[in-house]
């Protein structure tokens, strides 16, 4: 369970997060949505302890004060960053094993248990054929699975993901998210997920928190949060929301009349 109480983040004189409180129950998946600059990434970084904050962050009943980082926090909170650093020459196995850092003793080597965790995860995420491959030679989808494997190797009850699928195509994004969902159910992982794509957010998360200018402005089940009114008000976007088989589908709508405007000469459909 993740409990955030009155979390505030400032950068100089500017307030980035204004007293956000939220609770994500154990095994639940919560998505942070909102326009660019609303504070999704800042909130993820605050919870992970990468920036200073006021307020409380509690994971599985344990308080993690601002600035108190280290092994205990890494055992409770795993983090998948927006743009992970992947040293190009490092081998996949070594990278995944770095996730076990918080489980090592200060001077000790990794144990058989560490290697077993890494190996099981790499099999689970279908990375076992890539284990000796340098990170620089992975495709985007493979790299994202490797980063996920490293985060899951921490065996933390909370997984914080900041736009893990932003650079992936639809198919790869879907397979990564399905994996996260399976692992969430298997291990009752609590997931906090910052995401741009509202339709994807609605398909995977139990709760959406809509952030705007550092506040949580709307919070609740996806089909209630994602109304055309809310989306217009906070994203400034014109949309229609359909009810698809796995949740609400947000489709952009062009201004009246623009659909019929001339788009230049069209080609016939050809399929090869």
């Amino acid at each position: 369970m993740l409990e955030i109480e009155e979390l505030c983040v400032s950068a100089g004189a500017a307030r980035l997060i204004w007293s956000i409180s939220m609770t994500v129950p154990t095994g639940s998946w919560a998505a942070l949505v909102g326009p660019n600059g609303a504070g999704k990434t800042t909130l993820c970084r605050g919870v992970t302890g990468l920036i200073d904050y006021q307020g409380k962050v509690r994971v599985a009943g344990r308080d993690f004060p601002s600035g108190r980082n280290g092994r205990a926090r890494a055992k409770a909170i795993a983090y998948v960053p927006q743009k992970p650093v992947l040293p190009p020459a490092m081998a996949v196995t070594d990278y995944v094993l770095l996730g076990r850092f918080s489980h090592h003793s200060y001077l000790g080597a990794e144990t058989a248990q560490d290697r077993r965790v890494a190996r099981d995860l790499m099999e689970r995420l279908e990375l076992d054929h890539l284990c000796q491959r340098p990170l620089g030679q992975l495709s985007g989808g493979e790299a994202q699975r490797v980063v996920l494997a490293r985060a899951l190797a921490q065996e933390a009850p909370l997984l914080v993901m900041d736009e893990p699928t932003a650079s992936l195509d639809l198919g790869h994004a879907q397979s990564v998210l399905e994996l996260v969902d399976e692992l969430r159910r298997e291990r009752s992982l609590t997931v906090l997920w910052a995401v741009h794509d509202l339709t994807l957010a609605a398909q995977y998360a139990a709760t959406l928190s809509l952030l705007s200018a550092g506040h949580v402005v709307v919070e609740g089940p996806p089909h209630l949060v994602l109304s055309p009114t809310n989306i217009d008000r906070f994203f400034g976007a014109r949309t229609e929301v359909f009810h698809g088989t796995s949740g609400p589908v947000v489709a952009p709508v062009r201004p009246f009349g623009a659909n019929r405007a001339h788009r230049g000469p069209a080609q016939e459909l050809r399929t090869r």
């Binding site: 992970t48 650093v85 490092m90 070594d94 094993l97 001077l107 890494a118 076992d128």
Partner: protein, 357 residues
């Protein structure tokens, strides 16, 4: 266990890598003990080295060769081993902790700081402590003064690179290091010029680098610092791997990047200062050795740090051998040898790899 486990094996330091490093070091040490104005056969050297063991002796080592090996050549080889190991491991650690392939005790201004500290001790220490310390003059103060200078230099370099606005790029650190080194070298040259009449030949030759030890004294004075530094750096090698992901992700993995950086920099600086105070300014070791190991054994610091200690030691023993035998009986400063062999080699490494800069 099974083939699967082997395939998923992490990068670890293997027995054979350590054995090859030890063999290289042993071979270069024996070669260095053999060569000199009075050449010795390999068997004699080995016999002298292990003569105290209750083995059957193949050659009865003469008193003369025993004296040559233990009193003249061994201290020099031992000092080269300590200095080479220290400079290479410190270079590797600076590269890891600054996430910067260009980091090196020389480029970061640390050696220049140690050099200035030692010069100050040499110039002024003699007048302050000369009466108390006897004829040794400032040389007794040199390790401490060198360490103080090195600490000032590394702090100045680090602070300068951090004070720069905008993103923290590897180039910012190196540029700050170059500026700090230039400034400290200028101050040092000034001191040198001002005290030119002071009998500075000893200082000049010290600045060009030399492991010509006068007996076991310098070796014993460097050993505790080098040993402590090496132990800390070896313990931190896993930490350096985690820090290669950058501060954010290292923090998320449970590392305290600032604390880790402080520990590693302190240990590497102590090692560098001890090496510089005993041997003067010997360049390129901290960049050639770790980069060569990186090319051969991969990017994991679990391998780079221990192998840098072994190969750095062997490399400097060979460089010293070349320095004193190339133009025998004249001696070329060892810093000149490492620069002449190191700079072109370094360019080849950079061209071949391309991914480290």
């Amino acid at each position: 266990m099974d083939a699967r486990a082997g395939k998923l094996a992490p990068t670890r330091l293997t027995f054979w890598q350590v054995a090859a490093g030890c063999a290289f070091l042993a071979a270069s040490a024996v070669a260095s003990l053999m060569v000199g104005p009075f050449p010795l056969a390999p068997g004699t050297v080995i016999d002298v080295l292990f003569g105290w063991l209750p083995w059957p002796h193949l050659h009865a080592a003469s008193q003369l060769s025993t004296a040559i090996v233990w009193q003249i050549r061994a201290p020099r080889v031992a000092l080269a081993i300590l200095v080479g190991a220290m400079l290479a491991a410190a270079g590797a650690s600076y590269q890891g902790v600054f996430s910067n392939a260009l980091a090196d005790p020389y480029l970061l201004g640390i050696a220049a700081g140690a050099g200035l500290g030692a010069t100050v001790a040499f110039v002024y220490g003699g007048s302050i402590l000369g009466a108390a310390a006897g004829s040794g003059g400032g040389f007794g103060l040199m390790p401490l003064a060198a360490f103080a200078g090195a600490v000032v230099a590394v702090m100045a370099t680090f602070a300068l690179s951090r004070s720069r606005r905008g993103p923290r790029t590897p180039a910012a650190l190196v540029l700050s290091g170059v500026a700090v080194a230039a400034f400290l070298t200028a101050v040092q040259s000034f001191l040198q010029e001002q005290h030119a009449s002071f009998g500075m030949t000893a200082l000049y030759s010290w600045l060009l680098g030399s492991v010509a030890a006068q007996g076991w004294g310098p070796v014993l004075s460097v050993l505790p610092y080098a040993g402590a530094s090496a132990i800390v750096l070896l313990a931190c090698r896993r930490l350096l791997d985690a820090m290669s992901l950058g501060d954010d992700e290292a923090t998320a993995l449970g590392v305290h990047p600032r604390r880790a950086r402080l520990i590693v920099i302190a240990a590497a600086t102590l090692g560098t200062a001890a090496a510089v105070s005993a041997s003067g300014l010997i360049g390129f070791v901290g960049i050639i050795v770790p980069h060569s190991i990186r090319l051969l054994a991969g990017p994991s610091y679990r391998r780079i740090v221990p192998l840098s200690l072994l190969y750095g030691a062997g490399f400097l023993v060979l460089a010293d051998l070349l320095a004193r035998s190339a133009l025998s009986p004249q001696e070329v400063p060892i810093g000149v040898v490492t620069a002449i062999t190191g700079a072109p080699f370094f360019l080849v490494v950079m061209r071949q790899s391309g991914k480290f800069a």
